[in-house]
């Protein structure tokens, strides 16, 4: 008696029917996969933030010393060291491309040597070299040759240090830090890809019966592959969002606790650095989709 109304109900409900997911959800396995992928994404995002911080630190330090030079003045015969230094500063201040040239006060020069000789009378017995600090015009800095030529023209014997040796070292250190951080991010990405590939293989093995039914029912390879590709991309997007959120939280904490310098001057954190990891969910989804597609396609093509 109830058959007729129920039978009608299937016809009534049919227009509202929406196809169900062809791959069953596996909450426990999916959660595990999301967790592992989120951890990898977290470290990859943290590496990106670290790389940006290291880059900023290296550029900042290099910029600070690149725009200046230090001149070690040799006192001329019959002239006091202070007089020689003052003459050198005056000469250098007139060179085009020099913003400022000033004699480094004796007390400051002694302070620079104090770490090596210690405080007290030992320094008093030493001939303290007289230094002139030169600030170069950042837009059109004077060349070392121009400074040297000006000093020679004024009859001042001096040695000029443009800090290039330090700049190169700092840039090299910054480059290495960037490279290490980028390498870590790439490794995490590859590891995430491998995890997704492994999950795809496991998923295909666990759902082989479904895959075979689809295959024998006339599903094209891409139809079957898309099921795994989309599912894993979806999970990876969630993992990417969680990992990025974790890294942003850590970065924000560093910024809030340490100001613009972060927790250490080696890794200054800017708010804009945190935005750099915002595409992580999309990137994670894309990597997962590619890894799953390649893996699933290889497996599906083994079917007759």
């Amino acid at each position: 008696m109830s058959a007729a109304p129920k039978a009608r109900s299937v016809e009534v409900l049919a227009p509202r029917w929406r196809p169900a997911a062809l791959l069953p959800r596996e909450p426990a396995q999916d959660l595990l996969l999301v967790f592992v992928a989120a951890v990898l994404c977290f470290f990859a995002c943290l590496s990106v933030i670290a790389a940006l911080g290291a880059d900023r630190a290296a550029r900042g330090w290099a910029g600070q010393i690149h725009g200046s030079a230090t001149v070690l003045v040799q006192p001329a015969a019959g002239e006091s060291p202070d007089a020689s230094a003052a003459r050198a500063a005056e000469t250098l201040a007139g060179v085009k491309g020099v913003s400022e040239a000033a004699v480094l006060e004796k007390a400051k020069a002694e302070a620079l040597l104090e770490p090596w000789f210690g405080p007290g009378p030992a320094l008093a017995d030493l001939p303290i070299p007289r230094l002139v600090t030169v600030e170069l015009d950042p837009k059109a800095p004077a060349s070392i040759a121009a400074l040297d030529s000006a000093l020679k023209g004024a009859g001042v014997e001096a040695t000029i240090d443009d800090h290039s040796r330090w700049t190169r070292s700092i840039m090299r250190a910054g480059g290495l830090a960037r490279l290490a951080a980028a390498g870590a991010a790439v490794l995490m990405t590859l590891a995430a890809g491998a995890v997704i590939a492994f999950a795809t293989r496991a998923g295909l093995a666990a759902r082989r019966e479904i895959v075979e039914v689809l295959h024998l029912s006339g599903a094209e390879d891409v139809f079957i592959v898309a099921l795994f590709q989309n599912r894993l991309a979806e999970l990876a997007a969630v993992a990417g969002a969680l990992g990025a959120a974790g890294a942003i939280s850590v970065g924000a904490l560093m910024r809030l606790l340490g100001g613009g310098s972060g927790l250490t001057p080696v890794l200054p954190v800017a708010w804009s650095d945190l935005l750099a990891v915002a595409p992580a969910p999309l990137l994670a989804a894309a990597i997962a989709a590619i890894a799953a597609r390649i893996t699933a396609m290889r497996q599906v093509r083994t079917l007759p």
């Binding site: 029917w17 006339g218 599903a219 094209e220």
Partner: protein
């Protein structure tokens, strides 16, 4: 019922104006280094025909059907479906050919995690049709096989006969040219077996070429349909059947 040697039972390909739906020539199947499971099988099934395949366990019935629904390739010989040699078909062309074949598996092979409705709709979904274009047909078919009341049920909750009818509905929903059923009455009672037989005959009347593997001799005899007999991997003969 007249009995004919297998070699003379089928029309020769070049004799027929219409190409057979299924044509085997000297087909052999071997798993690894074991002796051949199927040997020297030659047959031709014409459009609209209905054949039973019988034989003892291990005779090769399921293997024969697997070749027909492209679940495996022969070790030797020619397998031609719808007039095309399957060995020379590119992989890309196989899905479209499979969509012309409906299969009722011995063990049903339903998707347990989706509803009866979703199971029946599967071939149409695979054919990338829009749900709106086939939902009403699926509902009608479910009602036709007597599962209109259980459209939302998951397969594990259905009885054996219901699962079988659901599997048949899925196999015929896209109106296949070739319908293959492997022991469709194997796990159900005799009465339900007769009902399913009537369903298959009805589908055959609607135009499908039907091949049914069965060890139920009583059912086969009552159907009056032609019977291909397999023994030891060989096609030993064909009974023409009593139906006109």
């Amino acid at each position: 019922m007249s009995r004919t040697p297998a070699s003379d039972a089928f029309p020769r390909a070049d004799d027929a104006d219409i190409a057979p739906v299924v044509r085997f020539e000297d087909v052999g199947v071997r798993y690894g280094r074991a002796p051949e499971t199927l040997r020297d099988i030659s047959l031709a099934l014409m459009p609209g025909s209905f054949h039973f395949v019988t034989g003892p366990s291990g005779a090769g019935k399921s293997t024969l059907l697997k070749l027909m629904y492209l679940a495996m390739r022969p070790s030797r010989g020619l397998v031609s479906l719808f007039g095309r040699d399957t060995a020379t078909l590119p992989r890309k062309a196989l899905p479209a050919m499979r969509r012309r074949i409906g299969v009722v598996y011995q063990e049903y092979r339903l998707l347990d995690h989706v509803s009866a409705f979703d199971n029946v709709a599967l071939p149409l979904r695979i054919a990338r049709l829009r749900p709106a274009s086939y939902a009403a047909d699926v509902a009608e078919l479910l009602t036709w096989v007597g599962l209109g009341r259980k459209f939302n049920a998951l397969p594990p909750t259905l009885a054996g006969g219901e699962k079988q009818r659901l599997a048949i509905a899925r196999a015929v929903v896209n109106r296949p040219d070739l319908l293959i059923a492997d022991e469709p009455t194997g796990n159900i009672d005799h009465e339900m077996g007769l009902r399913i037989l009537r369903l298959l005959v009805e589908l055959n009347r609607l135009g499908a070429t039907v091949v049914v593997a069965s060890h139920d001799q009583d059912l086969v005899a009552r159907s009056g349909m032609p019977v291909m007999r397999l023994e030891g991997g060989r096609l030993t003969g064909v009974d023409a059947g009593t139906r006109p």
